[in-house]
């Protein structure tokens, strides 16, 4: 009987180790450990043995059963590992590709760089309490010039070459046209910005466009000073460029401000050393600004003895060009995706 047991063990282990599938293993299990299995049959006959034999054989039988079960488990694990192993090999894909069908590979969309910077500027100013205003692109002479203290035949009209429409109106030459429209709508104190498209009657080249973007800004309160204006300009530029940017404020003439300034920033293309973008000067004109002329406040029905304000007109194209090192302004309206997809 003992020999028989050892034989069962031996043949079971052999057959387990030579099994190549879970099914084969199952067959072996049934053959040995099943209800009518070899080992089960032997265990059933234990009752017929003497107590001494029973102890010895019984113990051994249980050992053998455990040994076979453990061998089955081990083999099963091994087979299962092998199966997954094989699966993994078959599952190989070329992860260096972007899509099984390369024509369907993901292409993200792109916001126009002017929109992106405009939103940034809007958000920065909104966070500082500025309200966003709007105005028409085809504008009346009154709002674009007259109410900004530029009467007909004023030499300053030469500074902004104007597109005229056949009905006697014009394409706004600056977002400053939003100023008086704004004052007609809201009462001081206020802080507003007006981003938008503006037009100049100009032949295009690398640094001139007939259509570009500005953000007008205006703050009117009891005591607004040049120092306040400088604060907002510096804060804006620091936020936009995420670092301190060297600026300089020098006189500039715009009839709707008094005093008027040009705000220059240190050319970020060459770092101020001089390059074609800054015309070798190291400085780039970014933003005409100044304290609102009392006459303009009066056009907006605001008493200049009680209120004062500052205004600025920030060129968005210039800002984007500075940030990304773009040297040709014509890219913006080219509709060329090769340009647009870089942002």
């Amino acid at each position: 009987m003992k020999n028989k047991l050892e034989e069962i063990l031996k043949s079971a282990i052999n057959s387990i180790n030579s099994s190549n599938s879970i099914d084969e293993l199952e067959e072996t299990r049934i053959k040995v450990l099943g209800r009518k299995g070899e080992l089960t049959t032997i265990l059933r006959t234990l009752g017929q043995l003497s107590p001494e034999e029973k102890t010895v054989i019984g113990k051994r039988s249980n050992e053998i059963k455990a040994e076979i079960e453990s061998a089955l488990e081990n083999r099963k694990d091994k087979l299962s590992d092998a199966k997954i192993e094989q699966l993994l090999t078959e599952d190989w894909i070329d992860v260096t590709l972007d899509h099984a069908d390369q024509s369907k590979k993901f292409k993200r969309g792109h916001l126009h760089p002017i929109s992106a910077i405009q939103y940034e500027v809007e958000d920065i100013f909104t966070s500082m309490g500025f309200q966003i205003l709007d105005g028409p692109e085809v504008e009346k002479d009154y709002y674009n010039f007259e109410a900004l203290n530029i009467p007909p035949y004023h030499p300053a009209r030469d500074m902004q070459d104007t597109f005229w429409t056949e009905d006697g109106n014009l394409l706004r030459t600056h977002t400053s046209a939003i100023q008086v429209r704004g004052m007609e709508k809201i009462k001081p104190p206020f802080r507003v910005i007006g981003p938008g498209r503006v037009f100049r009657y100009e032949a295009t080249d690398a640094s001139h466009e007939n259509t570009f973007y500005q953000v007008e800004g205006m703050m009117v309160d009891r005591t607004i000073s040049i120092a306040d204006l400088i604060y907002f300009m510096k804060t804006l530029l620091k936020e936009i460029f995420r670092r301190e940017v060297k600026v300089r404020l020098r006189p500039g003439y715009f009839p709707f401000v008094e005093p008027g300034f040009e705000l220059d920033i240190n050319c970020l293309i060459c770092g101020g050393k001089g390059c074609p973008v800054c015309k070798q000067s190291g400085w780039v004109e970014l933003c005409p600004c100044g304290l609102v002329h009392p006459a303009v406040l009066r056009y907006g029905n605001i008493d200049p003895d009680e209120w004062s304000g500052f205004a600025f007109g920030l060129g968005l194209n210039r800002l984007v060009m500075m940030r990304y090192g773009i040297t040709d302004i014509r890219h913006f309206l080219s509709g060329d995706i090769r340009f647009l997809e870089q942002f």
Binding site: R197, T211, I226, R250
Partner: protein
């Protein structure tokens, strides 16, 4: 305007200041400088050398070999000039002399002979137009001396002033104005050059009368008769100065008048006295249609808005713009009338514009010049004439017609006001010091200032306290003002909902649907519209277009989008683009009302190769966009009629919102694809953003999760090939609003075993009740109703 530092140095003490220093401070306090130019810089390396020997060139008849002594070296140069001989002292441009960016003298071989420098003509040196031979220097000129020392007047440094930045400053249109600024900025002395004492030498032996007909056209007119004039070339110093300020030397009198204009900023004119008829000069408006020949020989027909200077024979000058040909001085002139006047700036500006004669004079007069300049300019001019022609003699006094001398401009303000506007601490003393240095006369009384504006700033430039703030601020230095955050209430600003709506649209299109935003011009041209076939000539035109392609304002976004597709297909196999922008609608183009500006969002999806029609890509984008925007009452309907010419009539859908036409989704018409050379498939959308913005929005309220089970029911029917599935769905929908929860199209199939010309459409209908489980009877009844409705509408069940 060109500013010569040589001239400045005669008007202000600039000893020890470097040109860069002066330029930088002027930029920060006064005006923009576009360029600093070293005039005739080559003179620094051109030296005087004596010809020791002249030998024939062995290989060229017209060339000579010239041996020179520079005082230090012996040099041989190959020379092509015909006029030099042994012993002459001549200008030698040594090796390395740079004449222009392109031309630097190099050691070279000319026809086999070595040449170490270049001998120069007057023209090559920049002194004259004389190119007939070498310039021969005076005997005894020290050898080796630099020509820049010999011809100091010709070595100059000039600043090119950006004219736009001095539009408001009539005083800066002459050197005196800048000299005054430099003196104020650097606290230097200003030199006064007008010598009114010279008037005492004027003889009153002659008659000249000046009549101003319209004092609103001419504010002042000064004339002076000068006899014993001899017209000749100007002396070297004057030629040098006139050249430095960008003019061509012509003759002594013309050069003097030009020089005084550049020095003082007052345009001058000299008439030939003998060509005038009578002794009276009349300033009047031209008669409508009066003809006049300017000294550039052009004839003009004047209008009654033009001012003329006239004698009894007719106009002799287009006032403030240009003199007349018939009274022009010439080589035989012996008597002149000098004119210095002051005209209405607006009239001058209009005349100059009308005849396209934006002369140096007109550009200055339109800025509102100081009328006080007139007599000063006459005196200065006479003094210089006297210097050039000692025998010249004034035979009248200054005939000065000055109908209404302007009142002094006085401004009352306080130092506190100035400090408040600047926002920085500037002492009262510093304020007064700055203003005084700019020739303002101050009468202080504590913090109150009574300020008299100097005449040259009083013609509109400085008139209110805010102007005084600028004067103080710019000399104090804007860069010296410390930035300061204002103390204001802290509150969130009003939202601009429309802007936010725009941003939301862009963000959905870019981030959720991967469209790229393009930005196109607001202009279109006839050719583009014709190509598309939408040229109804209804666009608002520009009066002054840049080009034919951009001569009117767009009424649609799509035309430019089509050119975007046309362009980008060259570089990409597929792309999606959109534009959000305004179009300009004006039906009555003659009315003065502003055009209606309609903000639209339009776009396209393009692919070289299609798996399925491009239409569906765009439809998905648009329907998702409108869903995300919560638009409440949207209707999509197949559109076959009244389509724009770029829309494919069998693949178009119109969109209405709240019952109004709000846009279109379509594939491109094959004909337009062909015209634009677009290969592949392209679908477009165009939506009225303003309408979407104002449309009713669906509420965003939570619906309690459904408690009772769904009962799905699938059904397939046969339909005609061109039967819109949406129509079948809506038949089903009508069966029960209460119990039909959803209807989805699972599949549409054509082909075997479906009969030709037909398709099979499978729906999954979900029945459910809100408040109970549907009973088997209810379900059965609903199913039967669906089947019956299909049958009744002619859709056979499969």
């Amino acid at each position: 305007m060109l500013l010569s530092l040589n001239i400045i140095s005669e008007l202000a003490d600039i000893q020890g200041l470097s040109p860069d220093e002066i330029a930088n401070r002027l930029v920060m306090s006064t005006a923009e400088i576009e360029n600093i130019e070293y005039v005739n810089q080559h003179l620094n390396t051109v030296i005087a050398a004596r010809i020791e020997n002249v030998l024939p060139h062995p290989n060229a008849d017209k060339l000579t070999l010239v041996d020179l002594d520079t005082g230090k070296d012996k040099v041989r140069v190959v020379c092509g000039a015909p006029n030099h001989k042994k012993g002459d002292i001549v200008p030698l441009a040594s090796v390395g002399t740079k004449f222009t960016e392109e031309f630097t003298v190099k050691e070279t071989k000319i026809r086999g002979e070595k040449s170490s420098g270049m001998l120069c003509s007057g023209k090559e040196l920049g002194f004259s137009d004389d190119h007939s031979g070498l310039m021969i220097l005076a005997p005894g000129t020290p050898l080796g001396i630099k020509l820049s020392e010999l011809y100091k007047d010709w070595s100059d440094i000039r600043f090119e002033i950006e004219n736009k930045t001095i539009t408001h400053r009539p005083d800066l249109w002459g050197h005196v104005g800048f000299a005054r600024e430099i003196a104020a900025i650097f606290s230097r002395k200003l030199k006064y050059i007008i010598n009114f004492d010279i008037e005492k030498t004027f003889k009153h032996t002659d008659d000249l009368a000046v009549t101003i007909k319209d004092p609103k056209a001419c504010f002042r007119y000064c004339g002076l008769v000068v006899k014993n004039i001899k017209i000749k070339e100007s002396p070297d110093w004057l030629k040098a100065k006139v050249t430095a300020i960008g003019m061509r030397p012509i003759s002594n009198i013309v050069d003097v008048t030009n020089y005084v204009m550049s020095e003082l900023g007052e345009p001058m004119h000299a008439f030939d006295r003998k060509k005038l008829k009578g002794n009276e000069i009349i300033v009047r408006m031209a008669t409508q249609g009066e003809s006049f020949k300017t000294l550039d020989s052009q004839s003009h027909i004047l209008t009654s808005d033009d001012i003329v200077i006239a004698d009894k024979g007719g106009a002799i000058a287009m006032a403030g713009v240009m003199g007349g040909l018939d009274s022009e001085i010439d080589d035989s002139t012996t008597e002149i009338v000098l004119e210095a006047a002051n005209f209405n700036p607006v009239l001058i500006r209009r005349t100059a514009g009308r005849f396209n004669l934006r002369t140096e004079a007109a550009v200055r007069f339109e800025k509102s010049l100081d009328p006080e300049l007139c007599s000063a300019a006459i005196v200065r001019c006479y003094e210089l004439i006297k210097q050039l022609i000692p025998e010249a003699e004034a035979t009248t006094g200054i005939v000065d017609t000055y109908p209404a001398k302007p009142k002094k401009v006085e401004i009352k303000t306080t130092t506190d006001f100035i400090r408040k506007k600047i926002g920085d601490e500037i002492t009262d003393n510093r304020i007064i010091e700055i203003l005084t240095s700019l020739n303002f006369k101050i009468t202080p009384s504590g913090k109150d200032l009574s300020i008299e504006v100097p005449s040259f700033r009083a013609t509109g430039d400085v008139s209110i306290p805010d102007d005084i703030v600028e004067e103080v601020g710019r000399i104090f230095g804007y860069d010296n003002i410390k930035s300061k955050a204002p103390l204001v209430p802290c509150a969130p600003p009003d939202r601009n909902e429309k802007r936010l709506f725009e941003r939301r649209i862009k963000s959905i299109l870019v981030q959720d649907h991967h469209l790229t935003e393009v930005s196109n011009y607001s202009f279109v041209g006839e050719d583009l519209l014709n190509r598309i076939g939408i040229n109804l000539d209804i666009q608002l035109r520009l009066r002054n277009p840049i080009s034919r392609e951009q001569d009117r304002l767009r009424r649609y976004l799509i035309p430019n989008i089509l050119t975007n597709i046309e362009f980008n297909q060259k570089y990409f196999d597929s792309f999606r683009i959109f534009e959000l922008g305004r179009v300009y609608i004006k039906d009555n183009r003659n009315s003065i009302e502003l055009a209606d500006e309609n903000t639209r969002v339009a776009g396209a999806s393009y692919a070289k190769e299609q798996e399925f029609p491009e239409f569906y890509i765009v439809k998905n984008i648009v329907t998702d966009l409108l869903n995300q925007l919560n638009i409440k009452n949207i209707k999509y309907a197949p559109a076959e009629n009244d389509l724009p010419p770029y829309a494919h009539p069998a693949r178009s859908m119109s969109i209405s919102v709240d019952g109004n036409h709000a846009g279109i989704i379509c594939e491109m018409h094959p004909r337009i694809m062909e015209k634009f050379g677009i290969k592949g498939g392209a679908a477009l959308f165009d939506l009225d953003m303003d309408m979407l913005f104002i449309s009713k929005k669906a509420g965003n309220e939570f619906t309690e999760l459904q408690k009772y089970p769904d009962v799905p029911f699938e059904i397939s029917v046969l339909a005609g090939k061109q039967q819109y599935v949406a129509d079948i769905s809506s038949i089903i929908e009508k069966i029960s609003k209460e119990f039909i929860k959803s209807i989805d199209v699972i599949s549409v199939y054509e082909g075997h075993p479906i009969p030709a010309g037909q398709k099979s459409v499978s729906f999954k209908i979900v029945f459910a009740a809100k408040d109970a489980t549907l009973s088997p009877e209810q379900i059965d009844s609903l199913q039967k109703k669906v089947i019956l409705a299909m049958d009744k509408s002619g859709f056979k069940l499969r």
